[in-house]
Symmetry: C2
Subunit: 198 residues, 2 copies
């Protein structure tokens, strides 16, 4: 690796010369390093250092993790409850995001801790404002489904700058909420990637 | 791979026989599969299927990501500011966690959105309570340093059920705060793992 890093592109013969080995002896090792992606090889040019670090295998692993493997149970409130009651629910259930549903249990809004904190420093009485005044509402809600790749949902969380997504199933009458994916779930998946080795 | 899965443990000669190849021809391929961890080999027994899926390479990758590669800028407030001013700072800076410092700029506390939301539904006037009444204080603050592995910090976030850690440097007079690691940073690292492949 060091010889190729310092001298690449360099032919198999020249590497063998430097190590006092025959080319036949070295061949399997160069094949391994090339196959693993650490070296690149070009016919009639030689071997050179790819700068890669096994990322293809890594990506293969990431593409096997689905939303359903890491989703949490959703906590929902009715659209008519007060902001005060929503805050109490958030503390009792110890979650950072609530999903708001209508009388038919279909998703109509999302409430983050930030939304509730903003409302709480306003001048209005928290027990008299219904959550549907302050919530983020459909169609501005980003959703996901249980068979989505976790990596794609992680991208949505970053791109949209949100903390959580509802895991939904679309029906004729709207979206039913079956789960919740948060940055905590993504962090758990990140930790699990390393723990698989144990 | 399939021959070994179905017949393992099986010797290199027997695999070569089944493929109508010489053992010498097959040797580099078996070396690659063994080196990559897909097959295990035992002297005088033969090759068998390891059941591994490239996780060692994955873990190697994770062990190269440090706090300093993903940390954000910390947002600090003085321990004497009011809870109301802390909430305003949190919105202006658009962060979920504030670090509280004393007159000498050393870390004395942490304020989460949850802490501020809890205070805001209390009966006290938010402009008259200083943050040091409601903050989590030293020595109950979990910290990290810039050269810590991101995976270890992710574990701390999960184990302690917190959203963010200050990145500190210990001095004789206390901890100076240089950065902030949140579940958002971990989610960005998770996304970057997959993006490296592009």
């Amino acid at each position: 690796m060091q010889i190729v890093k310092d001298n690449g592109p360099i032919t198999g013969e020249h590497i063998a010369d430097r190590l006092n080995l025959t080319r036949a002896t070295l061949r399997p090792d160069l094949a391994i390093l090339t196959m693993a992606g650490y070296l690149d090889a070009r016919p009639r040019v030689g071997y050179f250092y790819s700068g890669k670090t096994g990322t293809q295998l890594l990506t293969e692993n990431l593409k096997k993790i689905y939303v359903k493997d890491y989703q949490s149970i959703p906590v929902v409130v009715n659209e008519n409850v007060s902001v005060y009651d929503a805050i109490v629910t958030m503390f009792l259930e110890d979650v950072g995001t609530l999903f708001v549903v209508d009388a038919g249990s279909h998703l109509v809004g999302v409430l983050s801790r930030k939304d509730l904190l903003r409302a709480s420093i306003g001048k209005q009485e928290l027990t008299s404002i219904p959550v549907n005044i302050i919530m983020t509402r459909m169609p501005n809600i980003t959703t996901c489904e249980k068979d989505d790749l976790l990596i794609d949902v992680a991208k949505k969380l970053i791109d949209k700058q949100i903390d959580a997504l509802p895991v939904v199933k679309e029906t004729e009458k709207g979206f039913e909420v079956f789960g919740r994916i948060t940055k905590t779930n993504i962090t758990k998946a990140f930790v699990a990637l390393a723990a698989e080795d144990l």
